[in-house]
Chain length 319, copies 2
DNA sequence: GGAAAATTTGGTACCGGTAACGTAGACGTT
DNA sequence: AACGTCTACGTTACCGGTACCAAATTTTCC
């Protein structure tokens, strides 16, 4: 008991005793068993479960990095879960991680299986849902309005004079944020009187090569598009490479727009037309919201980290 | 006690009892507390701590993804630790994560602080060190020979006729694998009678933009280089973009070589001269070695996943 | 039908840390 | 000297699941 007090700096012991305890700690190489502390139920654990769809997509790794930095600096550990964009895997992971008595959970996406939802609600711990802003979250939502960002990009491209517009993405899953962007984009194109042709590369992550071959497939469909919007910047870069390889000039023959404003943009000779999304900041905001909830500080239910259109010069005004 | 047996499918109970227990489980929304199980010391936990330097670097995210897939499929959870390439942060993370009684640890890199080493050795759990192959690991090493890969690239470039060679990387840290590659590369260049000029972008992660401005700095040093080797493909791409922007033709005016064979290579019009490293496979092999150790199956102490030179065409034979 | 064997079910203790409380001794006050 | 107060340190019980063992019940078999 006295040793326990010394190790927690709780006071109530004398200096000679403290020295003796510390000497034994060193001699024995003693490491406390945090399991026992949490198990005893006296204080919450320092685990935070963080689930993201995958790591192949740069956006999520940036979000995760932002989360982990902030959590680690507050003394929390990240338990990672990759859901592969499926609610089943998310549910299984939630069940497992909850059995470890985490201090809180950070989940990517706003839709969860019914059983997952009931587990989350009855867990009695802070739940932060990130990525797509949710006006009625389980607990706290941190993200940005993906629908609006898609709409803004659509309106921008239409305003530049594009009308025969293509979209290349990886998944048709109605639940995810990319689909919400596409919905907003679709609405803007329709509102502006344009045509939209969609091409999905299923069973692939949203990286360079799917952008490349997705563009090939889109153009092979015979749709004479004058502009293509991509699920993200990596795919847009892949698509731009394809366009150039077949002799199409960007933006003269074909306009290219991405989403995310990823690091690759900083070295391209053309400034990519895209939506800047503050990924790192989003992750940090999510971790701070979690830390605040864990510390019983007041937290807004919805935290909008915003986005910003980057006009760039891969989609320019048409004659 | 009977309920415990039912929940573990341990046998020794009747069907009516099983039904009654399960009914209560459903009615109460009962979730077992795995903390208690592990705490009781009866069986090992299903946590595996995984530390990597950072997530800004695509190579490590691929390794991590490979690890997490395999671990998850075996029923283990990943506890993430980002060390920011410092041994101090690694040591602090190891101490924390060990106090959670993990089943095992996977660490990136072969060097650890003295205190970290003693904690690891006395932890009595499987330790898999990945990335740079280590002939005398604490427990198990999974990786590739970074020195050799650097040497092979150096010999290749020299054999093509390059002599005034530059290197651009992010860190001068003697401990990490990139430095080992550079050592091998340096030796090969010296053996071949070439000159090597190094440029380090400190305090930055090895991504596109540091490759870009690192190249600018290297060339500003007045070193008239005919070829540049980069810490990885992302930096090489950034550097190639800089060279082209200032009107240098690749590979006619200047050769470019990367390391890693990252996804971006698949969409570039030029095939990047690089070293193919099997990142995903490395992660999977590490996770499998861990799973085997946890299941008391025999495991080799050193697992070499190999590498392969990709000649490409951004560094070509000189006249 | 009754003893032996097998099956099912329940009681107790333990894992390691800590809250709650108890106690011994030092010290001060009147 | 008697009493209260404070500090330092020790004792006990508990968290939830499970190993171990004992008890109760059912099944088997002569």
């Amino acid at each position: 008991m006295t040793a326990s007090r010394v190790l927690r700096n709780e006071g109530g012991y004398s200096e000679p005793t403290r020295a003796k305890v510390m000497a034994q700690v060193d001699a024995l190489g003693y490491l406390p068993n945090r399991l026992a502390t949490v198990f005893a139920g006296d204080r919450p654990s320092t685990f935070v479960g963080v689930s993201i769809p995958d790591l192949g997509n740069e956006v999520f790794t940036q979000v995760l990095e932002g989360i982990d930095h902030k959590l680690a600096s507050r003394g929390y550990q990240t338990v990672l879960g990759l859901t592969q964009h499926t609610l089943e895997q998310e549910e299984a992971w939630i069940e497992t991680v909850l059995s470890w008595q985490p201090a809180g959970l950070i989940l990517t996406g706003r839709s969860h299986s019914p059983r997952a939802q009931s587990m989350l609600r009855s867990a009695g711990i802070p739940i932060v849902e990130i990525w797509d802003l949710n006006s009625s979250p389980i607990d706290v939502s941190v993200g940005l309005a993906h629908f609006d960002s898609g709409y803004e990009m659509g309106r921008h491209l239409v305003s530049l004079g594009y009308r025969r517009i293509g979209y290349v993405g990886t998944s048709h899953d109605v639940a995810n944020a990319a689909s919400r962007r596409l919905e907003g984009f679709t609405k803007a194109v329709q509102d502006g009187g344009g045509d939209l042709t969609r091409q999905f590369c299923l069973h692939d992550t949203a990286t360079f090569y799917p952008g490349y071959y997705g563009t090939e497939q889109l153009l092979a469909m015979g749709a004479r598009v004058d502009c293509i919007f991509y699920q993200n910047d990596s795919m847009a870069f892949g698509g731009m490479q394809y366009c150039r390889r077949i002799g199409q000039s960007v933006p003269d023959d074909i306009g290219i727009a991405g989403w995310g404003d990823m690091p690759i943009s900083s070295v391209l000779d053309a400034r990519l037309t895209t939506i800047h999304a503050p990924h790192l900041k989003l992750g940090q905001a999510a971790a701070e919201a979690m830390a605040a909830r864990l510390g019983d500080e007041p937290v807004a239910r919805c935290i909008d980290v915003g986005f910003r259109l980057v006009p760039g010069n891969t989609a320019m005004s048409r004659p």
